[in-house]
Symmetry: D2
Subunit: 475 residues, 4 copies
């Protein structure tokens, strides 16, 4: 088709591992695994399956021809039927899907996709936390002008700022973990959730039907299962998943937004890939394209959350399929988006640069203003009158910022002015000392970096594969 | 790629016409048309272009090889550059994109896609209105139990109910028309919107740069242009577009939801495609799959609106690209979704069936309750005491609904009970008359259908192609 | 003010307990408690506080005059300062808020409000689950036509349908519990999160500053605390809270929507409050106002979630206050909305009625269609040819639904037709038997109700106050 | 009530004019006006109304006692009935609300509130545009470093940047105007929209019922009316209104966000109210509280839009009231939020300051990089080899930015380096000239400001009251 349109998130941003979960081919393979597992469980529970049958299905299960399936669907107008026929024709038997309704298949397969995707996201998130923590430790002690309202407020350290975003990210990861740990499968429950179709298969033996359900859920590798469901599992479960992904993106989102701000002040840059160069004639133009993209992915996820929230709490009776087209879009796309986001985040964490001289120069510009309280205390200690000292500081501070804004001066010389004012009675040396101490006055910042690093270390030990994960090349 | 993931909205639901606007190939063609138009305008304004050059570009403009372009992008890491090189290599010249920045290209091409897609949506919406109006006229006089709070309230007609949803849809179409009429192009404005790059091309001649801009906008076929923009056009324009699509989907949404309710009462069905049959053994199971899908598409659009709203009012300085990945997803997908929605809506309008006997039987069940006021008035007119009559009606009405709910009776026999009660002094014949008049008591319903039909007729005359538009087959 | 506008959620729907948390007066009291607790902790850690001072503050802490505070704020243009002055003037001291910044106060107070509101929501949710479970057990065995796509599909029981929504609700409650268990306080961290202000208070003693923080968090009764934060705690925490509330509303949402559908078929009604009567002349008009309202509250929460999601991942540096006005609206209103929702849900659960005869009559209408597979199996067992039997069933089923829709018949007589057809060779008695067994063929429905009841019982034991909670009167 | 909670948007941010539209008292007054207008129209159309009756109602219509009405509602459990009784008791008659259903009252009154609020918003938006245009003209020629990706890109002017946001705002205003011009009233259409109740009042005279409807719509002052509606008007109309408000907020949103960025560079400040002072010791700390608040209001509106979008396309039959509680929150609050936003925006426009020296110094820092293309062209013109010149520029540019980032230099000395490099053959004088011309190289910026000003002037002439509108004091 010349008018074919690829899924842009899959094509441009997501990784092969995530695509493999959500591709048409990937889904067909999962379905076939499920059918085979059900056959095996049924055989164990006494349903007759001729010898060799399961082996025949297994032999062909990776022969996936999506075009052939689509041709069948256009005739039958029923997607599950089309896929059953395809698999049976390949195997030369008609033994799959016994005692199963369409939703016994599709619900569980989609949950399997969701669950495996959640696990993949977790691994990448841990990888990103490890990298973020190592960067925070690297910049643990670099003093940085902390800003509130985007205006200089106090001194922090670069590492602490990273740890702060890291702690937000960690909160998101814990929330994701809680969703993973409590993710329930729908299981084999029949057309309206009473397990009637399974009980009929076992000629009224409800216990066997229950056993079949348990075996299949165990196969899915899911931690638990719903008991009382309808045709479908409650769509608020999808909402919970997408909300957790949106939550998880918040730490990287805040980080990216702040790095974009810092790049505007040339304090830092998201860096470049090896081999990639910025504009040579305009070398200052290191655009924060990747950070912008992280914020963009987050906006996409928030849109998927709006889709998920439209489905939550909207179940009619035992279920309808007004959710069908929505979930076909939202579920894969939300995972492809978070995958792209985490890859981009990892890349930025790898390549990020800090321009320490600029960081220092920013601090010099604001430090005297940030230290006026200290000056006042020192002056009073030295014997100055509190009111007179306060008045003096105020006069000079207002004059200094005025001169900086008028361009009369280009460096903050408030301390020179104060040193020259007899009302304070402080020497230049004393001001130098106040400056030096002030610059180092980062409170618990370094300790906070260390605490964060320890938390991440514990997590890293639980997820050994995450520690070595490296992102792929990004576009 | 075995893990390729198609855009599900494009692949399963949208039409070739809409896909052609948003496909990679379609976009490349639009870009090349824009470059050629710019070259022509520049030549007219005195920029030297060697003879034959434009013809060489035109000759190859339909040779689109997306793989080749992608290979170039992976090297240059710059998508526009990759496409320039591809086109120039094909033509054997390097004359395109003069005095243009990347955004002079991409902004205008995306706007062209948006605008043409808006026009296509309008055509289909008019087609749907025409069909809806004809259905409303067909069922103009069929009395129907109107429901509020999902409970019987008064009598309306089936046609009036359709006209009601039609009027909502018409409101959405008018809002869309207003967006189309006032849709402004960004035009050629240079890197930060001051048109510097164009003025430089004309060696300082701002007037010529302005003329070039106007010529290009005229080429795009857009009704007007921004003047003071930045690197990008304001993203609230995208928000306005997606909001208009969401608005437009509301009439079909309310219609679909109500048809799903009616199908639950077997009053109507969305019908089947020719050649398609429902389950033969369970012929009552005519699922409202298409109506459910319409509601699903609407949920998707609301998600895209959330994405668009994240971008609106978030411009940093002259522009950043935190919107980039969002717009790559949201713009095509919103149009593909509304396209699928309108196709589905048209199909339902074509195939919808009404079961008049069930409609009538529903009315018979509730009519006596709905006419108690009339009975009271008639009884008082006949000489009954108001209070006594009221008391009698109340007693019998409560008893009747009680018996219906207890299953003691299966038909509403309130009027028989009232006819037998001497307190009212009304004969069976009088009750028959009240019933007949009551059933016909549809107020202005028929006239409202006619008024709606007239509005649609006017619209149809303005859009002659819409009248004959037929939807494609849906999955 | 004649143009005063109350918070409509607080005034019309929420309970005194929830209002007390979010009212201006309630907030001021919490603030004062915090200040007092900080003073005590500081005194314990060696900060001098004159004897009697704390007692003086405690004596006046419930004297809240919001007008007086507002008058102060209009002068100082600083809300925290206004409230400090008010409290100090009342007490006759100036000892509160030492070593604290505004955010050390407001962040923790808002978190305290949030946390206590979460606990209140949990109690009510457990109460609703207990009630829902008791209703499910009550209707455990009433056979009900299960519907998919809003069309009859198989048999379930009324109790199972309730358990199904109950299990969705339980999932939401578990998710909420996980948020409560892991809710971290910001604590006393100073202006930019480095705890500098506290460390200064203790003249450089970081350990004491840390101890102070811990003591205060313990006072708040919160389970844990952030370590590396900025001026504010990450706003994704608010997102997580509002997402949990939205999630929690899903079970009630699905229940309410389905009850509205059932009321349309007169299968059930949300009932009336004692003393309230429906329209006496139109006694069928039992509008599902409360269920509609539950769905309405959910829509409101989804809007608050959109607000929360706009703040998540949007932190600039150590924090800005673009979140301020949003949180003033979103946080209280989301809790007031869920409070109104749960009260309404509890009320509906108390008053809900089921019309068993109508439920049965609906089942009779569809049962023969739902049992055609059983008929076929039985016929074949009896010796009929499979093809002939299938053909016969199909013919009669299509004719029967056609006659029902044409109004030729009003009761489903498919089984009479089949009994009369020699191709099947089944007697009327056999059909009666099939019907009876079919009606009882509710699979694991009853067992599912019991399992649900057991889960709720366990929960109820953990929350003894919930069991006796009764909703207030609703408007 | 000590636990009373005011509407925070009304209490803290909105103006008396907007509160008067949405307050309980304001709504009661509008209702009474509607009832009186209906009585007058009915009298004109022949319905008997005793002499003096209307006058009696008019006399008491401003006696609004909300507590008394609430007491009545708690008894009747029906809000409209409570308000009818109150008004009738005050007047001593029972002549209002004839031939009207509850929704004939409430729908039209809410539309009247909406429409008048839309008009008020328009006036304030025009006022803000006038102010913005005057500020743009004031700063028309101040050269400013335009930024893309938050990084210096080319030169623009401060005025042009303002005009750019102004043009976005103007687009939003035009979209709002289109909603106002096409806003349709529901009118008097009876219980299910067939106008049956009105036709009954006129004893079957449909023409008179139609005339009554028209007269009432004319009274409302609305431009047009729906014809085919149900119990309610389509809720997509509310969606359209809230979408227009969200759209309108985008221009101010982008402006506010950019001003927050600029404040971070000390290029500009949102200023202070007269009499208000910033911190005297930390005079650099001019927090962009108001701009942050503008962005906050926008986030709130986006949440209201999510609420509105949940209602659009969700009508069941002739209407249900699942929208009721949502609209009670969303409609007033969306208007109160946009009111607060526009007041804040006007205040910032009044108080905003630009620090020209800092603006200039920022430009000096980047200008040489922005002019490298010009240098190259000039060098080639002077006889330098293109390749050699390009290489030289590249070397020096990379070295310069490196030195700036390393802190080796604090001013951009690229041009000094280039002047000293014989490969280019350009003198210091030539570089000075290039700099001067480059600084002035703002393309069409000034002309764009003028064009914008002209558009606003036209608009101002159409809205004379807007020109003199001044915002109230903000908190």
């Amino acid at each position: 088709m010349t008018d074919a349109i690829p899924n842009v998130l899959a094509e441009r941003y997501a990784t092969p591992a995530m695509r493999a979960i959500w591709s048409g081919e990937g889904k067909v393979k999962l379905e076939r695994e499920l059918w085979i597992a059900v056959m095996k469980a049924q055989r164990d529970l006494g349903i007759p399956v001729p010898a060799g049958t399961i082996e025949d299905y297994e032999r062909v299960k990776d022969q996936v021809d999506l075009d052939s399936i689509m041709r069948r669907e256009r005739i039958t107008r029923h997607d599950v039927k089309a896929r059953i026929e395809e698999f049976c024709d390949l195997a030369g038997h008609e033994h799959i899907h016994k005692g199963m309704t369409s939703r016994d298949l599709t619900e569980n397969v989609e949950q399997l996709q969701t669950f495996r995707a959640l696990e993949l996201v977790r691994t990448k998130a841990v990888a990103a936390l490890i990298k973020l923590s190592s960067r925070a430790s690297q910049f643990r002690d670099i003093p940085l002008t902390a800003r509130t309202h985007n205006v200089a407020a106090q001194v922090t350290t670069f590492g602490k700022r990273l740890a702060m975003f890291g702690e937000e990210f960690l909160g998101g990861l814990n929330a994701l973990e809680s969703v993973i740990q409590s993710y329930p499968a729908r299981g084999l429950k029949g057309a309206v959730g009473t397990r009637l179709d399974q009980i009929s298969l076992f000629e009224g033996d409800a216990a066997k039907a229950g056993e079949l359900d348990e075996k299949v859920v165990a196969y899915l590798g899911l931690p638990l299962a719903f008991d009382a469901v309808g045709q479908v599992y409650p769509r608020s479960l999808d909402f919970r998943v997408v909300a957790a992904l949106t939550d998880l993106a918040s730490g990287p989102g805040s980080f990216a937004k702040t790095l974009r701000l810092m790049a505007g002040h040339e304090l830092a840059s998201e860096g470049f890939a090896k081999g990639q160069v910025g504009s040579s004639a305009m070398p200052h133009k290191m655009n924060s394209r990747s950070c912008e993209r992280i914020n963009g992915f987050h906006a996409i996820l928030k849109g998927h959350l709006a889709m998920a929230s439209a489905l939550a709490g909207d179940q009619w009776n035992e279920g309808d399929v007004s959710c069908s087209v929505v979930r076909r879009v939202m579920l894969p796309d939300a995972f492809l988006a978070i995958d792209g986001l985490l890859e981009t985040f990892l890349t930025v964490l790898n390549q990020m640069e800090v321009f320490e001289a600029v960081v220092l120069s920013e601090l010099e510009r604001y430090l005297p203003f940030l230290l006026t309280t200290t000056v006042l205390m020192q002056a009073v200690k030295n014997g100055a009158g509190r009111e007179a000292a306060h008045e003096a500081i105020k006069e000079h501070a207002v004059a200094t910022i005025g001169d900086l804004r008028k361009g009369t001066i280009s460096l903050n010389n408030l301390f020179e002015r104060l040193a020259a004012d007899p009302r304070l009675g402080l020497t230049s040396e004393q001001f130098t000392l106040i400056s030096e101490q002030g610059r180092a006055n980062t409170g618990a910042a370094a300790a906070q970096v260390d605490t964060f690093a320890k938390k991440v270390q514990t997590l890293a030990q639980k997820h050994p594969t995450a520690a070595t994960y490296q992102p792929g090349d990004i576009l």
